[in-house]
Symmetry: C2
Subunit: 261 residues, 2 copies
């Protein structure tokens, strides 16, 4: 833990209608969302939490032009800035498998892939209204085709349930509702308050302040409970909340190659 | 059943953003929604399914101007057109207790009030995001205040669970998701196909065709199952679907004082 470093990797920007960010409570302006990944350099390995989106997938399957990403903002590009390559990642953890959180998994061929057991099931058999959100299945080719065996490219695929400390000071907390198997991440560091990465359980500070979930959800009641849970976790651990898609807060982040420790 | 008549009572109009009618799938135009009630003249009594909205409540608590209702379109006004008064209603059945479906209950002081047990609980303890939708509690004054006793004005208040035939040829089918205790209504008549009133389990024909629920929901997975269920019920009973808020279909309805039999 003493040597743990946290890097925030800039993964580009998405555009979205405000009423999609704030369920039944947003206006009609287009708003910009940052996408980012979290690299944890730890005694036990290099953990990558979320991997952003694949630009080609967005342009082809969602809508051309709403995603912005330079080569430098891809996972290989961001890692290269740190003198690393995807092969150096030992573990990929996904908060969930929506297209803006797993698009870079496919680069990390040597990593163990970690997720909530419910999330793998959700990605395999999404509800009809989740199809587009789960449309990038490059993180696990053959996931839907092969029942019940999963033919995935990674040497190891670990599914978890419940809250877990996956390495010393690195915690996953169940925050379902946005998806059935959503995890948020907390990292304890030696020289600062714990960092609590909400991922899509809380898009922005406004989401938390107004307790408003996004319009993308599978269980709005659970999603509201998860917002509340994150608030309590932050209080209990004196943790700093890092929201999933808050452009204003993102502007104040220390972005890689700078880091938190 | 041979003498059963079904009257559709025009309750006025609401305006809504299309993206609120079609969850994550609508445009930004304002669209007009009809609100209506269903009067069933039956050997066992006069059953009123839903009672529309209270104009004053909408103007005061939702937004002035989005609801349009003449005096003739109130429950007393619609019944007067048939030579009836609210005192002639023996049973009020509510598909659910959202403000555009229970606003006229308060006029029917002599009726037995029928709903799903889960719906009464939902109205008593709504999720935060349901507060506005359940804000007209004039159908049961004291509902939230009195725990666990319900001090309501009606002489009898009957809660049901499961599918029910509440009178010969008058069926309630569980269609949850929009709310936890949502019921749809089917009426069998002697001279025509059964009428299947979806209420808010399916706003429009487009909702059914595209399997798109509305943006107002407590359980979107259940709501999608309910859309599917209505489709199967219509097939199994060779029933005609009457959608909850379809302005185009509404234009082709036989409106009271005309009736179906």
């Amino acid at each position: 833990m003493a040597d743990t470093k946290v890097y925030i990797l800039d993964g580009g920007r998405l555009a979205m209608k405000e009423y999609h960010m704030y369920w039944n409570a947003g206006g009609e302006a287009m708003v910009t969302l940052p996408c980012y990944s979290v690299l944890i350099e730890h005694d036990d390995g290099r953990f990558l939490f979320d991997t952003g989106f694949d630009l080609h997938h967005f342009d082809q399957f969602v809508m051309p032009g709403i995603a912005q990403q330079s080569l430098d903002q891809t996972i290989p590009g961001q890692l290269a800035n740190l003198g690393l390559s995807p092969a150096d990642i030992t573990h990929v953890i996904n908060s969930h498998y929506h297209i803006d959180h797993c698009g870079g998994n496919k680069h990390c061929l040597h990593a163990t892939t970690i997720c909530h057991a419910c999330e793998l099931e959700a990605a395999r058999t999404p509800e009809p209204f989740e199809e587009l959100a789960y449309s990038d299945q490059s993180f696990a080719p053959g996931l839907r085709a092969s029942e019940p065996e999963i033919d995935i490219y990674t040497p190891r695929f670990e599914t978890l349930t419940g809250d877990q400390e996956i390495a010393r000071g690195v915690f996953l907390f169940e925050t379902p509702g946005h998806t059935n198997g959503h995890y948020s991440l907390m990292v304890k560091l030696s020289d600062r308050r714990p960092m609590l990465f909400t991922a899509d359980a809380a898009y922005t500070a406004r989401s938390m302040e107004t307790r408003t979930i996004s319009s993308a959800h599978v269980d709005p009641v659970a999603a509201c409970r998860s917002l509340e849970r994150l608030n309590i976790l932050a209080q209990d651990h004196d943790a700093e909340l890092f929201y999933g898609h808050d452009i204003e807060q993102f502007g104040a982040y220390r972005i890689a190659p700078a880091y938190y420790s």
